[in-house]
Symmetry: C2
Subunit: 285 residues, 2 copies
């Protein structure tokens, strides 16, 4: 993903230098690293099916990373998780201040749509991409999940409700990333939908594994604040560590079976990125 | 604008009832009133030139109101203006809590783009509308203005800098509303640009008059918290009340002259909405 990192460094939102603190803040979180998981999902599909469109898809991949980054910045705010550490760095509101963190998030949210709207892709593709990101990232998607997460702190949810929470908070943006790649690659509608559905369960699997990491790793190992998740509804608080690992293994096995039905070209494209998650259960209990 | 209000009530973002508090919060600010100035600018242009597209433009008009509402909710947050009152009602973070206010704003920001992306308009028009809103509302527009506003509290700016601040914070979204109306109405590019440029100065005029109101009206009369603007950079703090009124009058006179060069049909459409602002200077000092 070197080309993505190069593109990212060269194309950080250009904010006039009138207020350098803000410009720095906006770039800080984007350049702080992370797995670039969502951009990679999208770019790998495009590269496999429409390699000529790879460069045109870069702004869309950056839009996904910006959108994801905005959600992390706002999740870390004092009113929400009040986290000090993210991606191995001091969180934005600690390093600068709360205003800067709120506004940097707001800007990344909106600017992501500007990047998609102006990407060198066909108009019908661009408008479809805007629709998918907005539908999965807004009040009926990611933000709804975050709202549920915050408001049901200390109020135990059922397994079904926890799945609904994380489907919205985490899985929908991962599913959207796969679907957006499929739209750019002009895959048939059924394939777009199959990738979206697969992404929803993949997102849930990630969340369970993330909950397990939060329980078993130190902040230093995880590179983010993990402590205050104890009061939050997580798979581990409901199912315990053992139960969560079993849930993860059964989900991974089901996902592996579905993955095996994908076209070989698609499997080859995604396997280097998600294979370790799907196959981990083989070495498990 | 009865049709807009009807459409608004009927089409509030549908959030699953899993978390009723959030749903209520999201609707509260939108239904709390306000002048609906941005939707009206857009709809009046569409009605004058392409009345058959009026209904198709309603979701875009709602998107503008949602985007504006998101900016008010975040501006009122404790970390920013820490306001208790907005549109004559208790602000969202006071009525509910800070998390709800941050997330309601985030949802409105993103959902506005969903409404535009799915409006029953041509794809090339929709993608242009997304581009205009995102460009003027994000980190190079409205959010930049808000960042400057917050970070230069208690640090006096020059008149040029204050104009730059409010051009971004307020005027660009007003200019975008006019331009988006012109795009839906399929006006020539030069007319789109002329309306945008006119909107930038119109937005500045509003801001000056808003500063004067903040200085001369009570909170009850204004329907919003006005007190803490004393530390902020405003036209009144720099130019004084008298000087601000003179600045407003000279800007209004210049705008009136430009308005007179618009097509009669366009003048007729916009005059009921903005005439009182343009002509007020005639009764002035």
């Amino acid at each position: 993903m070197q080309r993505f990192e190069q593109y990212l460094s060269a194309n950080l939102p250009n904010v006039p230098s009138f207020h350098p603190l803000y410009e720095e803040a906006l770039g800080a979180m984007l350049l702080a690293g992370g797995k670039r998981f969502r951009p990679q999902l999208l770019l790998r599909i495009v590269e496999a099916y429409e390699p000529m469109l790879f460069d045109s898809a870069l702004p869309v991949a950056l839009a996904l990373e910006m959108f994801h980054t905005y959600s992390l910045i706002h999740d870390d705010l004092p009113a929400m998780d009040d986290a000090d550490l993210r991606r191995g760095h001091t969180t934005l509101h600690k390093r600068f201040d709360e205003v800067t963190a709120i506004l940097a998030g707001d800007a990344l949210n909106t600017d992501a749509f500007y990047l998609i709207a102006t990407a060198p892709l066909r108009e019908d593709i661009r408008i479809k991409l805007v629709e998918i990101l907005a539908k999965n990232g807004g009040g009926s998607g990611m933000v709804l999940g975050q709202a549920i997460d915050c408001h049901f702190e200390n109020k135990p949810l059922t397994l079904e409700q926890i799945k609904m929470l994380h489907t919205n908070k985490t899985a929908k943006l991962i599913a959207a990333s796969l679907m957006m790649g499929a739209v750019i690659a002009a895959l048939p509608r059924e394939s777009q939908q199959a990738l979206y559905d697969f992404g929803l369960d993949l997102g849930l699997l990630f969340q369970i594994q993330d909950d397990i990491i939060d329980e078993t790793q130190s902040e230093e190992e995880a590179g983010k604040t993990t402590g205050n998740d104890g009061e939050k509804n997580s798979f581990v608080t409901l199912l315990g560590l053992e139960g969560s690992m079993e849930e993860a293994e059964s989900l991974a096995a089901a996902l592996e079976a579905r993955f095996a039905t994908f076209e070989p070209k698609l499997q080859e494209a995604l396997e280097p990125l998600i294979g370790t998650y799907l196959y981990r259960h083989r070495e498990g209990a």
